[in-house]
């Protein structure tokens, strides 16, 4: 038995989706794909300037999506309340994105177009994203570059003064704009600058070191949030006409990931418990080029930009005895002659070679390591610049990748100019997230989700340099329009008092939750339990999943959950700065996300994008999709703690694109 259908009822309700109340309206506009967004904008409702002043919007998060949305809504004249958990909006984890941002400018005259960027993104996502959203994303991508240049973002340029581009995985054109290996930093500082201008003008009010702990719903609409002041421990209430979540991904469910220490999925869980749906949670991106794990005390993994795959060649030894000798320290990689090196990506995927998409590159690395050809601890492969240095010279390589090489050397103590880098896949990005319609509104009225925290644009796998594009597209060019379609009905709604009973109740629930965790007084720190959860997720819900591994994962997650509620220890007090309490609250939500990830992966009886169910593969080890039964967005509806979630389906229809098997071989 490899199909989970018969055992799913043990974990979830997968039948009720047929009922009329579970039909989703994704609000995709009519018309040919290239005209949908134009038509939408031409016919949507707007809010006039005098009314904008009377409408309050809460934006949670200050990454690319959050900062760009908050600043743009402020520029339009809305009152914006913007929250972040860090000490400054500039520190959100978008800052760490290295490689670049895609746009369909075709500045290189290499055949790029809006349609091609759209096509590559849908194909890269293995035909599990919503066509209309992706087309809109490709359409506004060019505006993003114009916008950022105007802000003074110092993109890399050619000697003639025009913008430079490079290539990223999954594309045969050069459409990636970049600023050294710090593109995310420069784009975020651009958005942060715009945000600062609005803060100065008074349209945006910025609240730092605040963590949202609940969303307040009044008469079925999102009307505010409850936050914990991370410095004083005080619980605070904020009201608004609408709430926007821009809170990033849940990749730290694996504990070790390339995410920042504070990254969390708690906003998604709060939304889930208030009626928003979580979608496609099984689609978690494992990035192929990260620095391998060094030991048990490790707290995070460091990404080496995908841009390195432009010039680096990935290999492992062809002979097992060479791999064994390297692992034993008896041979060095430079001792292996070219003919004994297996450039496995070039071998398996000649058309895209080292630049095949991330999910494919990650799985291929795991396959070689599992087969016994791994180097280092056995869980690593080589990324070699010897050939690029021979071809281009060390100076050119240093100019392109110098800061990344320095970063590598700092962490690993190896010099990548002399010996190949060692890399291994690590949790990096989550394609799944909060379900939103075409307007980026969740299934809760007035609650919107943008950037990585929504599910919408990347399907089963995200292409490199597309996360920055999506975050800024949502924040600068999509949400500021679509939100008005909702807010136009709200102009007569007066400001809410935070004394409303709904706020009272939400705050009380938050306080009770904190007291419950503080009262456990066990022996294990949140980090210890989080590490245990991470091991379960990596081993059983990681790059390769099986029905058995997922059932096992669900059992073990339950064990970790029991340990959490019986043996957690939080030192210090709740009414005070308490980093242990912060971690515990986030971990409690990761336990829910972990379970939902496993359930989603168990439900999806196919291999697709980053979701690889080992039962479903072709003879040569490629993913075997099942479009007949699974060409839908799997959304999950919360029904209570410990109760079974309900599967809700959004069928995916492709009208502008011909669905086919993903092929990066020829």
């Amino acid at each position: 038995m490899i199909d989970s259908t018969s055992i799913m009822p043990e974990f979830a309700d997968i039948e009720s989706y047929k009922l009329p109340e579970y039909q989703l309206d994704s609000k995709i506009p009519e018309g040919p794909i290239a005209e949908k967004w134009t038509n939408y904008k031409a016919h949507q409702k707007l809010v006039n300037p005098a009314n904008k002043r009377n409408l309050d919007i809460i934006v949670v998060g200050t990454g690319l999506a959050g900062s760009s949305a908050a600043s743009t809504l402020g520029e339009m004249g809305f009152n914006v309340y913007n929250f972040c958990i860090q000490d400054s909006p500039r520190r959100a984890h978008s800052i760490a994105a290295q490689g670049g941002i895609n746009a369909a400018k075709n500045y290189q005259n290499d055949g790029d177009s809006v349609y091609r960027l759209f096509y590559d993104t849908v194909k890269g996502g293995d035909f599990r994203s919503r066509e209309a959203n992706v087309y809109r994303l490709a359409e506004v991508s060019n505006n993003i570059i114009d916008q950022c240049v105007e802000q003074g973002v110092p993109f890399a340029r050619e000697y003639g003064g025009l913008l430079a581009n490079r290539s990223f995985g999954g594309a045969q054109v050069s459409r990636t704009f970049y600023a050294k290996g710090q593109t995310g930093q420069q784009l975020l500082l651009g958005a942060y600058a715009s945000l600062n201008r609005q803060i100065q003008k008074g349209t945006v009010r910025s609240f730092n070191r605040r963590e949202m702990l609940d969303i307040v719903i009044i008469d079925g609409r999102a009307r505010g949030i409850i936050v914990r002041n991370l410095i004083t421990g005080e619980i605070e209430r904020y009201a608004a006409h609408a709430v926007v979540l821009a809170t990033g991904g849940y990749g730290r469910a694996f504990f070790l990931s390339t995410n920042a220490m504070g990254c969390n999925g708690s906003a998604a869980i709060q939304a889930f418990k208030k009626g928003a749906l979580l979608a496609n949670l099984a689609f978690t991106q494992i990035h192929p080029t990260c620095i391998p794990v060094h030991g048990e005390d490790q707290s995070k993994l460091t990404l080496m930009s995908e841009s390195l795959r432009n010039d680096g060649r990935i290999w492992v030894p062809k002979k097992k005895e060479d791999a064994e000798a390297i692992r034993a320290g008896q041979k060095k990689p430079t001792d292996i002659p070219d003919e004994d090196r297996d450039f496995y990506l070039e071998r398996r995927y000649p058309a895209f070679g080292n630049l095949c998409p991330r999910d494919i590159a990650s799985r291929a690395a795991k396959e070689r390591c599992d087969a016994g050809y791994g180097v280092g601890t056995g869980n690593a492969v080589y990324l070699d610049f010897k050939y690029a240095i021979e071809r281009l010279g060390e100076d050119v390589v240093r100019d392109r990748y110098g800061n990344l090489f320095d970063m590598y050397q700092m962490i690993s103590d190896d010099n990548p100019y002399e010996t190949p880098m060692m890399i291994f896949p690590a949790s990096h990005y989550t394609m799944g997230g909060i379900w939103v319609d075409y307007e980026l509104q969740t299934s809760v009225k007035g609650l919107f989700a943008i950037g990585e925290c929504n599910f919408s644009d990347h399907g089963g796998n995200r292409l490199g340099a597309s996360a920055l594009m999506q975050g800024l597209a949502d924040g600068y060019f999509v949400l500021p329009y679509t939100m008005q379609n909702y807010l136009s009905d709200q102009i007569k709604v007066p400001r809410f008092s935070t004394d409303a009973p709904e706020f009272e109740a939400a705050e009380k629930a938050v306080r009770e939750r904190i007291e419950k965790l503080m009262a456990i007084k066990g022996t294990k720190s949140p980090d210890e339990i989080h590490k245990r959860l991470g091991h379960v997720m990596w081993n059983f819900v990681g790059m390769g999943r099986t029905l058995q591994s997922l059932v096992k994962a669900l059992g073990e997650i339950e064990e970790v959950r029991k340990e959490f509620y019986s043996d957690l220890r939080i030192v210090g007090s709740a009414d005070d700065l308490n980093t242990e309490l912060e971690k515990a609250l986030r971990l409690e939500d990761f336990l829910v996300i972990a379970k939902m990830m496993a359930i989603d992966a168990l439900n999806r009886n196919e291999s697709c994008g980053a979701h690889f169910r080992e039962e479903y593969q072709t003879e040569d080890g490629e993913a075997k999709r099942n479009d007949q039964d699974y060409m839908y967005v799997s959304c999950w509806k919360y029904t209570g703690d410990g109760a079974k979630p309900i599967l809700v389906k959004e069928p995916l229809k492709y009208e502008a694109i011909k669905v086919q098997t993903r092929n990066y071989k020829s």
Partner: protein, 251 residues
Amino acid sequence: MEHTISVNLKIWRQRGPKEKGQFVDYHLDNVSTGSSFLEMLDMLNQHLVEQGEEPVVFDNDCREGICGMCSLYINGHPHGPVQGITTCQLHMRKFNDGDTITIEPWRSAAFPVIRDLMVNRNAFDQIQQAGGYVSFNCGGAQDANNLPISKAIADEAMDSATCIGCGACVAACKNGSAMLFVSAKVSQFALLPQGQVERKRRARAMVRKMDELGFGNCTNTGACAAECPKNISLSNIARLNREFIKAKCAE
């Protein structure tokens, strides 16, 4: 293959901004030399939690040297003894078995201690809010390639824009001056064509705000640039001085 060392730690502990702080000694065994400095502090905190004591509070987030959240004055140097990196990029292989490591927060009047090693750097945000931007509303931009910018200028602006806003420059300065931080942002926009229209207003506004917030004056000692984890050059300060004088003359 893995080496471990033992270290003695002298860590500044302080309950709140108004309370008196003091150094507390800790000893830690079996620290892997492959661990980062912050992972070593995680280990210490794990031990403290096991003993029911409150962990040492320190800011950190991305742990890859770019968010600017981590700080720490380690053995007399902001971000530790290795030049050109942040604390989170510092690895324990840079220390020897038996070393005593002194860890303090940033010490500056403009960055009050919140707790232990965590300080309030909100003043940096306020300086940026005073003028660290191009006044331009989303949606009205021309095509990005309509305005060529020479590679040399773009690269130089990029070098200035690399500042991560960590505050090491202020911590390193005997006067507690924020000139390197302010000059990096002023330089980025002074170099680029997009920044020209507001060039004078920006230099005046940002310097005025810096003075107002209690940062000290610059005496060209250069400790800021020497300790900067991103190697922001002292020449930015020279440019800021020129920008400021030109702006004042034009008033």
